[in-house]
Homo-oligomer: 128 residues x 2
DNA sequence: TTCGTCACTTGAATATCACAAGTTACTCTG
DNA sequence: CAGAGTAACTTGTGATATTCAAGTGACGAA
């Protein structure tokens, strides 16, 4: 059972369709890229910046803010002096793993030239 | 094995990551809504228009064109006088079913108020 | 004191979006 | 045959979002 504090905060959904609602929250070019990076161990602003897709830094900041507000990621300082932040996935964020795995499977089958993710990623189980 | 004619035509991908490549093709607010409608039996322009999300007609036309160009959907006249068109999914399009199923599962667990899709949809197998 | 790094902001140009209205081709009704 | 209706779009306009480049502030190291 999913308790209330694990729920994502949607804004103004277009409909109650689960697919449409998911897209309202994650349906853009960058959000799921960030979730991918977080699932594969990246935690810091600079690490996201240096992913091969090259997210513009203002969009990165905006997306991180939005995903945090929605309860998909968590921002915490992991040191003071100077203060540095680590971003991590909430249970809701980690639960997106199967979506990304299916996307990978699809791309590997239907888009030429996509690399196959590490076996570790494809066989990973979301521990929520 | 997937033969060449079943492959999707990506434009200029940001990277060879299968997730990023998928998002380059489908990472917007409307494309997967259309795939959902097609998977659930809708075939015509007006039917897409009347989905509860209310896609603007200019975007609908643009997305249909794009998805057709990418090889995810097929546009065929199903009658002449007057000519009327039916849109259907290609094998690549049908293969997106598991992605949508996982999105539904995620939304049902983590977004409050989403309706659960018909059992028929959730247990459907993509016959590619 | 100057340099570099991290984590962002700001600004300007461009692209995309939503909303409303119009168009074309045809059929159907009276 | 005039007028209304429907399907499948297209066009125009203003708002919003995205990209690209550059700048900022806090700190730490040399």
């Amino acid at each position: 059972m999913t308790s209330a504090e694990n729920l994502v905060k949607g804004g103004h959904e277009r409909s109650s369709c689960p697919i449409a609602s998911t897209l309202d929250i994650l349906g853009d070019k960058w959000s799921l890229i960030l979730v991918r990076d977080l699932l594969t161990g990246k935690q810091r602003y600079n690490q996201f910046c240096s992913s091969p897709e090259g997210v513009p830094t203002n969009l990165l900041a905006a997306r991180l803010r939005k995903l945090e507000a929605q309860g998909i990621i968590l921002k915490e300082p992991y040191q003071t002096r100077p203060v540095r932040y680590a971003y991590t996935l909430t249970p809701a964020g980690r639960a997106l793993l199967p979506v990304l795995q299916e996307m990978s499977r699809w791309a590997n089958s239907y888009i030429e030239g996509t690399w196959t993710p590490p076996e570790a990623f494809m066989s990973m189980k979301a521990k929520v």
